[in-house]
Symmetry: D2
Subunit: 252 residues, 4 copies
């Protein structure tokens, strides 16, 4: 069965800012979807959801049919409803993968799953600056087939200290022309679900059209989907193997 991917985009900049609209006439979600289709072909089915849809397009039904959710937000983090965030969090802990892109580091869902401020250093000059992305874990599946380094000529600078928990696996580290560094590819486990944060992707630059970036996103989607269905028992009660006394599961 193909992976079921839902691409979520707040879809604000593309309609509001002409410079962004020119780069992404089909929305950033369109570019991300095109990359996934090229990289994964029949191995994935892709749907799109945006902020302005009812329940932001993330109903229980959609989430139940989603193996991996990708998230892009920037201008409208606060407009995302808390109950939708609750629902996405619960689904991640239940095993759905989630890919957090660029400025979504400040989204409600990412902050919720990290427990930290998720603040960072940043600089957005006209024209951006060169980001060079190095692989520090060459056997990691998310780095498969990726050049070493990936060079993105024009990017917004994101730099350390990035206030997130130490990742379970660090895959990419970037440098910027200014000399800053950034942990730009990080893996986390939360409950039975997997999360990957990937730094590149400002709306002012054509980053999501770049094939190497699309390759990383496709690899990350496959990795995020690689969690097993949690193997705990569905029941809320059982017996100890040694003494046959009852135990209970706490409700989540």
């Amino acid at each position: 069965m193909p992976l079921r991917v839902t691409i979520w985009n707040e879809h604000v900049h593309e309609r509001r800012d002409p410079s962004v609209g020119r780069l992404y006439p089909d929305g950033m979600h369109g570019a991300i979807a095109a990359g996934l289709r090229r990289e994964l072909g029949d191995r994935a089915t892709v749907r799109v959801a945006t902020l302005e849809e009812p329940e932001h397009g993330l109903t229980d039904e959609v989430l139940a049919e989603t193996d991996v959710l990708t998230w892009w937000g920037h201008a409208a983090h606060e407009k995302v409803a808390d109950d939708v965030v609750d629902r996405v969090q619960a689904r991640v802990l239940d095993g759905m993968g989630i890919l957090i892109l660029h400025s979504s580091h400040y989204s409600k869902i990412f902050k919720r799953l990290m427990g930290t401020t998720c603040a960072l250093r940043w600089r957005q000059d006209r024209g951006g600056e060169r980001e060079v992305i190095w692989t520090v874990n060459p056997g990691h599946p998310i780095a498969a087939g990726v050049p070493h380094p990936i060079v993105i000529e024009h990017q917004e600078m994101y730099g350390e200290f990035f206030d997130v928990p130490p990742p379970d696996e660090l895959v990419f580290v970037s440098s910027f022309a200014g000399g800053e560094v950034f942990r730009s590819g990080m893996c986390y486990t939360r409950g039975a679900g997997r999360l990957f944060y990937f730094g590149p992707g400002d709306q002012e630059f054509p980053v999501y059209h770049q094939p190497e970036v699309q390759r990383v996103i496709a690899n990350a989607v496959v990795w995020c989907a690689g969690a097993a269905r949690g193997n705990d028992l569905p029941s809320d009660r059982g017996q100890s193997p040694n003494t046959k006394r009852d135990w209970y599961l706490q409700p989540a």
Copy 2:
């Protein structure tokens, strides 16, 4: 300067349940404080705060003067005000240590810092059962001077799967008479602060009077206090070392 420790206790069971009141006539906080005083002597000053105090005894002033906060809650997690939780979380990320004890795994502050459900298996039979605590990181300062194993004759069973993120450091693993296992000593970094979760400590048993448990708690307080004051600049703006272009810090 001595470590400044604040012991927080919801202080409900001791006053409501006669069996608990007999075990802890001075409250569980009293037993924890006595253990810290015996183990750390002049190296620490200890104060107590409880749920029923204004702002639960955790004002900005108290938190500003606290290097390590210990937390015990069980019956009244939901009565802890969200703005106090916000304040404690911010202070942890800013560098205060926090020690989460036993059933506080289901407290608002712990769930907030973990991002997961924090659910677990449990069993509370009359009389409890034996917990055997093994050190899996013998050089860790929290295990200093601790017997291998620590045996607690009567305890509530807490078992896996414990839904928390993989810890940065795993120090203790327990077995229970029923055959269950539990990651009962875990270290986390959150922002500039350190967190330790320690499993033992049910209100129905005299666990906090046991010297080995008091030793672990004292060690953990010292470890939690060992974070450096964050070395980032306090300013919200600066220049890149290479290109002298400005960068900004995001507000937390």
Copy 3:
């Protein structure tokens, strides 16, 4: 292309000890191979290599055609030639997976890859004792479809402290009837290769015939094979992206 698995077994006990020979008339490698065939079918091709073969059956050619090597040794660790250990280590760092089983914790190759003594507590009484294996990472692919807990009625006790580096991922923790605990499923990355240590499997008990154990081994083989081909450049020289000055790769 199917996974290419090589099952290595020292194959000493089965021929020397009648009790072991009765349990494993086709060698422990035979039971492990049967389990892999049942679980993976066409997804894997399996070959066997043993200590007494020239170069222990692990020539450059065999290793070059091996995606995952499983290792079982106990009585003859010292008879494994150092140059074969060198070769296996190099191949792991180059991306081959390796599954270390039970008493192979004291093999040359495991000690080489860990850098520690790999010593542990143990007890082998007649009849063994019950081991109960709990999953502490329910979304991990190695735990897929595995009961929680797995119960092995008769096993040798292996207990903490197990002197290995903290694992990159902890998947299973066991308890034993005596009250001991053991980190019985651990993932490591070494170079571009993946390593999994799995505790169960003493020669005196029919552990490798148990379907749940076979399932874990099959899952682990697939996980170990999941490393990407290292994405670094094969050349030993290149230019910095920013200044176009030359860099060099050190020879391994």
Copy 4:
């Protein structure tokens, strides 16, 4: 009792290469010792050992009286005797701290403790290039009081992929003028001992005279000394807490 630090230096370049001799007339060990004395004062006693001494100055007696060993080697890694490496490794696993500096990434002892090739990218042009060192774990004691970033104007480039196991804690990440990045401050636990790798320090530049670098080295020495004395029993035999059956410890 003050920390007992032994500074080991191969002490080859300083005597052979006039450019190095001018930078380090008292040897690199002299500059490192001066930094430790300034930073730690009475809190540490410092002694020096070099390659040309009998047993390289690292007898059983010296190691028994050493809490933390710092290591600098480059030109003569192969001249270090294997039995001295065995002895240092055993002492680290027993709880001694070790600080691995710069080109010592290719020393026998570091490779032994890592289990990998420890290869990396490098470039040594006349005049070197700027290294900018960022803290990615601001509460870590090794980063205490360290500027963010540390700028070293002239350094040899060390870049990723650095073939070491994923660290237990990542403290510093560097960028170089060429755009490369490097995990330049990494913490490891091995047995009961702690290891820190710190990247800066080429012999051609006055890096060890730089106060910020001396501060990091002093912090790292204190952190490496912070391991508890292993809390396992010294005996090689005992009884299970539950069944009172005997267990054994394997010899290291």
